[in-house]
Symmetry: C2
Subunit: 408 residues, 2 copies
């Protein structure tokens, strides 16, 4: 079960002026399941996005990147149940056909629609079902539909993921609302498996793109469930420009900083929800690396710990078998690492220093922290002033169960 | 259960003239368990080894490296139940005390003994129990004791791992016998978690060291169970010089090549046994990457596949959800990879080409191969002439079970 995600209610999610959302049951993989989402954007909305760096990127990712670069976006279409990845040239045609039909229904060009898919890889997209489902999704469009939209993009997710925040900019209230999905194949690199954040802020597209990159780097790009970087990752930020404040045009303005902070906070909340709902997760683990020479080596150590099946299974068992963390630090790839200079903490408990177990460490203290549902692993490298935080979860029987039966 | 390891019998293991092995029950972690091994070497035996590159390397690894560099080796001592890793300065003293006692019993210097430990990390080595157990192990020493030795070094291993081969060199029969242990925390980098190969061949130490490096690179360094590089990996090659042929002194001689081939064959057989007995393994998977630009990029792709929990759980389930393999190829880190040029095979079945599923691929063919206990994943990159093979296993409920309860 997901780790400490409070139940979501429709009222928590604030509408964004200029964004309408509609869902439908297209029967893409299973019957009676909401599996199609359309987001319709008012004219003047700026769109920005970052996408997976997987070389086998999905057809909709290829198409969405092209459309984003060349046209004003009027709609997004998202389907679950099929990733349209590893589908070659036919996949590109299917993604374009989806955009063409959405454009026809909404009165805009194919190039003004961004397509997204998530689900099983290397199976042909049932594009006819999507085309047949689109009219119902468009007819369902309304502003206060974020709650249903969060449900419509789920795959192996147990709970929907959504968040809203507000900030005052230039005397006006600006709202930011986002949804995301993902629970397995999670080790985003530049974006995650479908995250959408919208705001009514007024901002130029180049600055919005900067903000999307920054928010991804401080949220989705800091999480990992299983180390598998998906073929379909995409993180989109939309700004409808309806909030009524003066347009944000400078990256060094306080208004940019305020909005960036709020967008990043929504993205980070969504990203952490993905980890809390990681496949089979029973614990939420924060891996915090401090006093490294640079961010790169901090990340190496953080991911070595966050990806180790031995560490993740020990956390599942609440077993303070913490020597496994030393082993992961040791193989993280820092060649000149002096292990005698490192401190390892579990929450506030000093576990290891001077190359071995700390003199005052008692197993009962380690056990107390291991029994918690939320744990921070803190490694102080004592080599410099860089730091990195990565969020991950444990590794349970249920991860194996979910992924041994995903297609059935 | 281990995948296709035939039962081992004492008769299969040929003695090596100049090597005697003795075991004992020292009660290091559990009572009534063979947990201590002594290997006594005749004068004139050459020893060579490669060790873990984990920066948190175990105290016995540090000591063994020093002793190997500075003295003629007369004995090896191996304990299971405790890794003596992450134990700081006290760990070094414990490893040295073990060597001193073995040396005293055998009439050689502390520096002539190599210590090895395997088991739990970051707990003090019960050196008193080892010292008390050594006389019994020394008294047990005999040449035809490889079978018992293979048992005495096991930890979570289900079956013992050992192999013998013979080769004709300079008109004489040369014998090579080896033992190894390991089943979890297996992703060796320069050696594996305890492998010992002995031969009666006559060869100089520098050439033996070359051979140890080559054999490790083509055996233990090509396997992975869980991607966790151990703190205690060590692979040792011993040559007693009793076979009676002229000493091998040139690396470009046919005698060197013959011996290297035989030593590597024994090492590869042991390494594959470790994967077949990988924690929770139900399948033995060969990952073969061909036609890459260089060996480095082939290895990146091979390990991305071999370490993916999503792929490993699909193989456990015999589910041909093979798009996950494309995803792993895509995130392996080859930036200029053209995915349209790749072919993916499962044994003889062409699964994917031209960026997607092959036109003639039928799920029934994929299912037929997936049902097997031994499967080859073959990826043809079509970028050059380099190739790499890695051996791994699947990821089952039992891996989680074993590692969630390892210390209890």
């Amino acid at each position: 079960m997901p780790v400490n995600i409070p139940p979501l209610t429709p009222e928590q999610l604030l509408p964004i002026a200029g964004v309408a959302l509609g869902i439908a049951e297209a029967g893409i993989k299973k019957a009676n399941r909401k599996d199609l989402l359309v987001m319709v954007l008012d004219e003047g909305t700026q769109a920005a996005g970052v996408f997976t760096q997987n070389r086998f990127c999905a057809a909709p990712v290829t198409v969405a990147k092209q459309h984003l670069a060349h046209a004003a976006i009027c709609a997004l279409v998202v389907n679950t149940g099929n990733a349209n990845a590893g589908t070659g040239e036919a996949g590109i045609q299917h993604a374009l056909a989806t955009c063409a039909e959405a454009g026809r229904l909404l009165g805009c060009a194919t190039q003004q629609v961004l397509p997204f898919s998530t689900g099983v890889i290397m199976e042909p997209l049932p594009v006819d079902k999507i085309v047949q489902g689109l009219p119902a999704a468009v007819a369902n469009c309304k502003a206060d539909n974020w709650f249903n939209a969060a449900h419509a993009i789920m795959t192996t997710d147990i709970v929907p993921k959504a968040a809203s925040k507000q900030v005052q900019i230039g005397g006006k209230t600006v709202t930011v609302t986002g949804i995301a999905k993902g629970s397995g194949m999670i080790r985003p690199n530049m974006a995650t498996m479908l995250g959408y954040v919208a705001t009514d802020a007024v901002i130029s597209q180049p600055l919005l793109q900067e903000m999307a990159r920054y928010a991804a780097d401080h949220s989705f790009n800091r999480i990992t469930v299983d180390g598998d970087t998906s073929t379909n990752d995409a993180f989109i930020v939309l700004a409808t420009g309806k909030a009524g404040h003066a347009e944000i045009t400078r990256q060094d303005s306080s208004e940019f900083a305020q909005l960036q902070q709020t967008v990043t906070a929504v993205a980070a909340e969504l990203a952490k929800m993905i980890v809390r709902d990681g496949e089979g997760a029973t614990k939420f683990i924060t891996v915090q690396i401090e006093a490294g020479k640079d961010a790169g080596e901090c990340a190496k150590v953080a991911y070595a710990i966050a990806h180790s099946p031995l560490i993740k299974t020990a956390f599942f068992a609440s077993d303070p078998n913490l020597g496994r963390i030393l082993a992961a630090i040791g193989y993280a790839g820092i060649d000149d690492l002096n292990v005698d200079g490192i401190q390892l903490y579990l929450d506030d408990v000093l576990v290891a220093e001077k190359g071995g177990r700390a003199a005052d460490y008692r197993e009962a203290d380690g056990q107390r922290v291991m029994n918690q549902a939320e744990i921070t692993i803190r490694v102080v490298l004592n080599r410099g002033s860089a730091s990195t935080t990565v969020w991950t979860c444990d590794f349970s029987y249920d991860y194996v169960k979910i992924n041994a039966s995903y297609r059935s």
